[in-house]
Symmetry: C2
Subunit: 418 residues, 2 copies
């Protein structure tokens, strides 16, 4: 598919993240105004709440965009999702008849503050990148036992904490926690000293389900994708995670990029999952190309300094697709709801430069990485800004995600010393 | 504290679960009517939604009970919680002046269908009963390594799935899942063969928090308690839970009792946690008696047959209180919200008869229990009805919870054979 041209001139640049082919959904505000729904097009945002109020967009009998989140559209299902996309393309294409009505509803993206694009119902994080699981397993259990016995048979996941999900740009405070290092006789209460990132994609459930669903049904139910940084306190995690999994190590924050990139925009970039070492059980088998060819990168900028790219990888490195994760998630019969967020798991490639966490990049702190500014990093330091970037590259256009940014603030003074 | 007498005569029976001292909060409907908020008093329910509509109860400028859940009151905090309790006692006490206005708002509890009493924001399950952790640890890792190294230092917990929480009376469908038994070469897709219960208490967060809180603050933020059965698929759990904890094994259903028993009603029954084997870090230390003396029992009734009591224990067997769990939950800085539900973990006593799961009662299926009807049970069978019961015993009165009931339906035919 080639670039679709728009009368919004900035959207026609081959490198622009938000051409007409993309049309990602977000929630924005200008100045002291209320947050409202918007679609990114080039350097602008189309005010969808206003477009609906003026009758330019009418998808259902009752309004969908009079609330500052996209859940009401997400709940409507694929036919209404397609109708909105078709309507937006008609309104924003080169030569659109209604341009004069639409143009007054554009605002400068540079002036906008972005908010959470949807209300997160529940958040689940997976562990479905093979290179990441192998790297972490090798560090903790040795190369012989790197992958747990179940790893090649099910997408391992754990429930996370929806209340901790924040939008790009939100500062992240280094947490305190209970931890016990190799030199400690006893556990102690201390600020996290091994604070880390995880480069992930997040899949957002649109259509709800109630009971087991096929991988194809799961794929149909997914509304779109975001970049996702699952901040991780490695020292807290090491002490707490046996036997029931990570808990407070993952409860500080999970940052997502501000724009939901729809499945429709990503359709031309579908790719196959990697070859299977062992055959999956029927209910988890691929039913077509289920991953996406999306270039990903992580940058780190120390306070007041320029950014260094510390990792480059691609979403097609995952072993399990989001649809397979969602199908597995529904097997035991519990409902999956509109607004459920599924983290892919850390995305690492085969090479050292393609590892999606500092834990892997610095090999547990034993091999610090050197930034372009000359500083070394084993884990995240106070004042560092971490940014995830993602884009699918088409024929003369790109599908960008908008950066997923978080700056780390120093830990509070001991919150209990009072 | 003695029995407080009410003009609702049935509430004055020393064994009645719902005397004036209790006043638990639920959501009920009659016939085809809409669900509404109600307070149990004796054999009746006082229609709180209607009482507020008629101006008999007015706590805030805007209505709190025009919705079929108690979250709006829960959000208001302890002063408003106390004001409601005081007002209800004034309206329902022996000799109440406004009895003639209140009496028409009573309905027969026997005629009511009960619904979820609150909207669950997020659900967390802990593993904070020492006998249970020791039993399970002994079965899986041997007596020498029964308790994980962190167990005596933090209340171990994992995030569960809020969408799976259902009210007492909801049938529970035996799940399918991926499992691999000791005699299996490969994992397979099959109905769960080791379906189990977990006898727990659930603590409900009322006042939200955003950042670390003390144990005392956590206790202040708790609104009330319910009985909680965390249905568990042991064979699915055994295959999936390493390294990131239980996932689909706990996703089928978690049943709660229909009435929220308030902290105020339980106040006379506070007891200390057990003696500490190792000192807790300061931020998790007890700040007073933090558990409650609540007798608990589990009954099992095979289809069409009478019930047998299979376990009797007490909430005071817990090692960590709900307040300590909530304080730990908040350490890493993530928000805790109104409607968050915290499962205590399985409550087992020291004796065989006081174990709160069939896994422990039948010692992993090796020692099936015999019911009063003569049948044996290692795990739950199709058609079995499992009931949790709980009551605190005061001086001439009881504080009951209302039964927490679930009947197990057979697994569906293979949901993917289509």
């Amino acid at each position: 598919m080639p670039l679709m041209t728009s009368w919004v001139a900035s959207a026609n640049d081959a490198d622009h993240p938000f051409p007409l082919n993309n049309l990602p959904y977000g929630v924005f505000s200008i100045g002291d105004g209320e947050p409202r729904c918007g679609v990114a097009i080039g350097d602008s945002i189309l005010d969808i709440t206003e477009a609906e109020a003026q009758g330019l967009i009418q998808l259902t009998d009752t309004p969908l965009f009079d609330v500052p989140f996209w859940n009401e559209l997400m709940e409507e299902g694929p036919a209404v999702w397609a109708a909105l996309r078709e309507r937006l393309i008609a309104l924003l294409s080169e030569g659109a008849e209604e341009r004069d009505k639409v143009e007054p509803l554009l605002v400068e993206r540079a002036d906008a503050e972005m908010h959470m694009p949807f209300a997160v119902s529940e958040y689940t994080d997976f562990y479905a990148g093979r290179h990441h699981a192998t790297n972490v397993g090798t560090m903790f259990r040795g190369a012989e036992n790197a992958l747990p016995p179940n790893w090649l048979h099910i997408p391992i996941g754990y429930n996370g904490r929806a209340s901790s999900v924040v939008v790009s740009g939100t500062d992240v405070r280094r947490p305190w926690g209970q931890l016990k290092g190799p030199n400690d006789d006893r556990p102690r209460w201390a600020p996290c000293a091994r604070f880390d990132i995880e480069l992930e994609m997040g899949a957002i459930v649109g259509t709800p389900s109630d009971g087991p669903i096929t991988v194809q049904e799961a794929d149909d139910n997914i509304f779109g994708y975001v970049l996702l940084n699952d901040w991780s306190a490695r020292d807290i995690q090491a002490w707490e995670y046996q036997p029931l999994g990570p808990f407070q190590a993952k409860a500080t924050a999970t940052t997502i990029s501000p724009w939901i990139v729809t499945k429709a925009a990503l359709e031309p970039f579908r790719t196959d999952t990697p070859e299977r070492e062992v055959e999956l059980l029927d209910h988890l088998k691929d039913c077509g190309p289920m991953l996406y060819d999306i270039d990903l990168a992580v940058t780190l900028a120390p306070e007041g300094k320029g950014e260094s790219t510390i990792a480059r990888t691609n979403y097609n490195e995952m072993y399990y697709s989001a649809a397979q994760q969602l199908a597995h998630h529904a097997t035991a019969g519990g409902p999956m709801n509109t607004g459920d967020l599924l983290g892919s798991g850390t995305i690492s490639g085969a090479t050292k430069e393609s590892r999606g966490s500092l834990l892997e990049l610095s090999w547990g702190g034993k091999e610090p990485i050197t930034l372009e500014t000359g500083e070394e990093r084993s884990f995240v330091e106070d004042g560092d800004t971490l940014t995830l970037k993602g884009a699918a590259r088409g024929d003369g256009y790109a599908i960008g995600f908008g950066d997923c940014v978080g700056r780390v603030l120093p830990a509070l003074d001991d919150p209990f010393a009072r």
